[in-house]
Symmetry: C2
Subunit: 435 residues, 2 copies
């Protein structure tokens, strides 16, 4: 059965595995033209610095500036935006920022040391990065919430210098983005975007100091530029389209679940919204809600294409089978819309964020629950984590040997080094042997 709006799959079908694979299939196409443009921009900014950034900003963002100083927004300008937005906007942004900071403080890692039985001290020293760059898209996809998620987290990690870059196409500034930057404590801001902004952050220019890590979403040029500078600086993951997976036992209002699916599908035409349930009648009810509510959405055209192309309602035999399917998908957002989410959560192995119980809609997590909304997409939750404080801290091993410890360890090291034909390693260790 198919409504035309959303696929219906059944896990007991002989072809279910293949159908699910086809549904999940997602691969960023290789854009040779994008690669070649980005390569040129990166090399040019690396060589000519500010001058090249100004030229590309004029060319791509239709913003003519005589000097880089016109593209630098000082603290006064950020504070002015914060003062000028509505009281309600300011309160909501501040509430979200406070909750994000409060949650992320739990992720702070401390340095540690211990002493072993030989009297050697071993440990790990944790330090923040010196300088981080946050990319925020401009124009219609300018999301102040994303600025909070990245910049507040970096600040909680203790990064002393957080730079924000955001394009202002044709000079169009988003005051909420500036206000979010002010609340987050962003240290410097540049109204540049695209591959030229990534290049400026990665290599540094006369005006813009080089950063250690670049985070934040962007268009295909930004994504390709981030991929290309990876290694010179660190980057967060290259995000694919956003996804939600809902496991429902039928206890939630079908209208709620339909709207939760839409909250993903309205993002873009490639977004993915899937609901799994062992209850066929419930799946029918959710489908009816989808059909009823979809036409009432402001972004119903985008949501309709997303649901038709990549959405699905999946019937399974049991909730534990739903968990199995979920682990295979490794979703970015997982809603456990069930009466007893604790009974399922231990068996969830891979998910970016887990929304427990029918009250916890994904939208709450997107804005203000506290955890990060920058999450691993396209099954990468198998090996990656939400953006977090750990993305902005790094570790140094500490080894402090006692004379006796160095002597004992020296014997083992010497033996292994000689087995690997590394004689200087062995002799360096042997100097420390005292008996």
């Amino acid at each position: 059965m198919s409504s035309g709006i959303i696929k219906r799959l059944t896990s007991s079908d002989a072809t279910f595995d293949a159908q699910l694979s086809a549904l999940l299939a997602w691969e960023e196409g290789t854009h040779e033209q994008v690669e070649s443009v980005v390569k040129g921009v990166l090399a040019d900014v690396r060589k000519r610095g500010d001058e090249a950034v100004l030229e590309y900003t004029h060319k791509f963002d239709k913003l003519a500036a005589g000097s880089m100083s016109q593209l630098v927004y000082g603290q006064e300008r950020l504070q002015q935006a914060l003062a000028n937005i509505s009281e309600q906007d300011r309160t909501a942004l501040q509430a979200a920022a406070d909750r994000i900071a409060s949650y992320h403080k739990h992720q702070l890692q401390e340095s540690w040391r211990y002493t072993d039985e030989m009297g050697n001290q071993l440990g790990q020293k944790v330090t923040p990065m010196d300088r981080v760059g946050v990319y925020a898209p401009g124009g219609k996809a300018a999301y102040p919430s994303s600025v909070l998620m990245a910049a507040v987290t970096a600040k909680v990690a203790g990064v002393p210098d957080v730079a924000l870059v955001t394009p202002t196409p044709a000079g169009q500034v988003n005051e909420l983005v500036l206000a979010a930057a002010a609340i987050a404590g962003v240290d410097s801001m540049y109204t540049i975007g695209g591959a030229q902004a990534v290049a400026a952050l990665a290599y540094g220019t006369q005006t813009i100091p080089k950063v250690d890590k670049i985070v934040g979403p962007g268009n295909v040029y930004v994504a390709e530029a981030k991929r290309a500078v990876f290694g010179t600086v660190d980057i967060d993951m290259i995000a694919g389209p956003s996804e939600i997976l809902i496991i429902s036992d039928g206890t939630a209002d079908p209208d709620w679940l339909a709207m939760d699916l839409f909250s993903q599908a309205e993002h873009d035409e490639d977004a993915q919204a899937i609901l799994i349930s062992p209850d066929q009648a419930h799946l029918d009810a959710v489908q009816a809600s989808i059909e009823k509510l979809l036409p009432t959405l402001a972004r119903n055209e985008i949501a309709t294409i997303s649901l038709q192309k990549r959405g699905a309602l999946i019937a399974v035999g049991s909730l534990s089978e739903a968990v199995e399917v979920s682990n295979r998908i490794a979703p970015e957002h997982l809603e456990l819309a069930v009466a007893d989410p604790e009974a399922l959560v231990d068996d969830i192995r891979h998910a970016g964020a887990i929304f427990m119980g029918v009250s916890t809609s994904e939208a709450l997590g997107d804005y203000c629950a506290g955890p990060n909304h920058v999450l691993p997409t396209s099954g990468t939750a198998r090996f990656s984590s939400p953006l977090g404080v750990y993305d902005f801290q790094k570790r140094s091993s500490i080894i402090y040997c006692s004379k006796n410890g160095a002597s004992q360890l020296g014997k083992v090291a010497s033996h292994l080094a000689r087995a690997e034909s590394l004689e200087a390693h062995a002799r360096s260790a042997e100097y420390r042997i005292i008996d």
Copy 2:
């Protein structure tokens, strides 16, 4: 003054900054030929699986196998290697493995939750990856210690399935590598290498299941293949040449320090060994030790080229200036060969591993102190960490709202979602508002 063997720099020179930049300059050349070969191999293995792996193994490793089963080494073969190596080898490998496990257990992250003032539960669920692939080079650069560093760490993280790939060129097997795999608890082993091994791990074949992360060093083909599959799977960093930086106050025996420098320089001709001291006479003494000891090294040709090309003895005005220079370099290995290393360590912001005091030579850390010897190179300690348990665990955010909490958060989320023109997000949140 220059001995011809190693450069002498002085931080008070007007051109010091430029000289240091030139000394540190390192960029992996772009090998268009390598890129193109790797692209072909990856696509071919992805398409044809085992058959392609067998062909490339025959072609590149001169190893003819009729079927993949000949390239699979079972537990019996690993245990046989462990039984057949010498008692001394076995004891040394086991001692190193035990210490690596003991240190890395301190890095285990636990899941956590807390309840906020609205009655919402927030937290982070930590889970190991399902399956990890360890690459170990074959032939003369086959290092059993690297197998321990990667595989023991993955096992401490709780990864149930650790696969080892290592080429056996012309059938030449390194029994110590197999024995290290046995000790580390490697679950499956394949005698394949190069880009074809990386492809098999990243995409899976009929015989080899797909992994979630690939770690371990390799030649330029392996490095390029890892870079290319990044995103499909996670990878560790692409390693540059190894480096040591020694800060010395003149209290250590110059012969010891010369040998510590050699223990880096003997790795390869691009390795970098630098010593910094405020004591000119001490620098002269270290130089004399270098000249005296270098000819006695088995690998003196490699070490000589490394020291000539990339080595340096740097005179600074004070130990705190030495720390500043060190932070600029962000070395892979940092020896604080000083009487009071605790006085310096707090100011060290960027380093892969810090070796405190004159007894603690880098070689001890390379084999058996406990911390990992896979460390960030080429200044990437500015933003990355030693290989660790955290590389094999990932996190899922947990959000479990109370009805009251969902209602309160719903108001904030609704406001911000409407400000971002995401109406379905807003309506999904609004359903949860109860007053």
